[in-house]
Symmetry: C2
Subunit: 232 residues, 2 copies
């Protein structure tokens, strides 16, 4: 009776007091008194809220309002994908298709509307990617930065975070599950083509570039997915 209620009441407390991210929450004893519940119940409620990213607990220091990031969504998506994969579903492919669907829809609207500064930054990222490819280094982080920078121009923090969350979940699962046959040269060429297309302002070409990029990732996925790896 209390457990579910406690979470709601703590959330309501944050709303009512207009607590911003990082603001300190009452200590556990204070919450015990305020909510009229025992330590353990309060702690379980806080644990649940922590899992949702609503509060942040720092050992030996205190409890604070969380950053409200989408990190817990990544966690949930990643687990759901891993579990589905080991059960023989094509969950990883579905996650990739989700990214493809969203990004193709966005990039066409982005074409020709990106400020010069963002385009320069993207160009620098591609250059760095080519450098890393030449050295045989991993270019995952640069790839992430490219996609993040690309959609920053939409001026919607939520949208950017959701896309980054999808990227993170996909990347984490892919690393855990399948060793992808790297092909850095092709990856670089495709990112440069995306950049050129967006710069040119040709929506259709930009959409084609994105679709081609994802098609390549999908192809690498298919050949790696033939055999189902076993955990540990």
């Amino acid at each position: 009776m209390a457990a579910r209620d406690l979470q709601e009441r703590i959330k309501k407390l944050i709303i009512d007091r207009r607590l911003p991210s990082g603001a300190p929450l009452p200590t556990e004893p204070e919450l015990m008194e305020f909510l009229g519940a025992s330590r353990n119940s309060v702690r379980e409620a806080l644990k649940a809220l922590q899992a949702m990213g609503i509060v942040e607990i720092r050992h030996g220091f205190g409890t604070y309002v969380g950053p409200m990031s989408l990190a817990p969504m990544i966690e949930g998506l990643a687990f759901r994908t891993v579990a589905g994969h080991y059960r023989g579903e094509d969950s990883l492919l579905q996650l990739l298709e989700l990214r493809e669907a969203v990004e193709t829809g966005l990039v066409s609207r982005l074409a020709g509307r990106l400020p010069e500064a963002d385009l320069d930054e993207l160009a620098a990222l591609v250059a760095r990617m080519e450098e890393q490819a030449a050295q045989g280094a991993g270019l995952a982080e640069t790839d992430r930065a490219f996609h993040a920078t690309l959609y920053r121009g939409l001026d919607n923090v939520l949208l950017s975070e959701v896309l980054e969350a999808f990227w993170d979940a996909f990347h984490r699962v892919r690393c855990d599950l399948v060793e992808v046959p790297q092909d850095p040269q092709v990856t670089c060429r495709q990112h440069r083509e995306i950049l050129d297309a967006v710069r040119s302002g040709d929506s259709a070409r930009a959409e084609r570039a994105i679709r081609s990029h994802f098609g390549h990732v999908r192809a690498r996925l298919d050949v790696s997915t033939e055999r189902s790896p076993s955990p540990q």
Copy 2:
């Protein structure tokens, strides 16, 4: 030190044993022995996993593998949006824009590719919507069904669930925060136009229809958002 670890080990247990959704987990005493932790610690870990939708706990019955739905994401998104709204941010508008971005990207690809059966179902939904509008009844559920049916043809369960999650979060927050000036007639016309556009196979027209629909919702939002309501 153990808390974070316990969650990971329970997740690993689900993965390793290939437990499908709905499968029973070991009881709390069994988990205590298996994980070498006290009951309270095990319970806190389970609570956190429950918040992420990974496990489902039924009082007096047992613990089970969760449905892996995106319900926790809705919860998190909704709270984040409400909290941001009361802090004076335009979080609700951002959520709407997120939906608009995704749906405009998808509907253009859908135009002309929807099977006849789905089109008929959509037509029935619009008819029902018009009926409800005439009676002055709420048409939220029908609206939800329309959007859900529309993107079912993409054949990607994850994608459908994400879109439904966005719809749910937006609807919940909108109901909690602002009383929207209903305009059922316009809503019906716009949904019919979306349907007609998709049926005609004209991608650009479909995208225009969706964008017009969202534009209308946004306009109603703007006038309601002038004054910031206070909670309870």
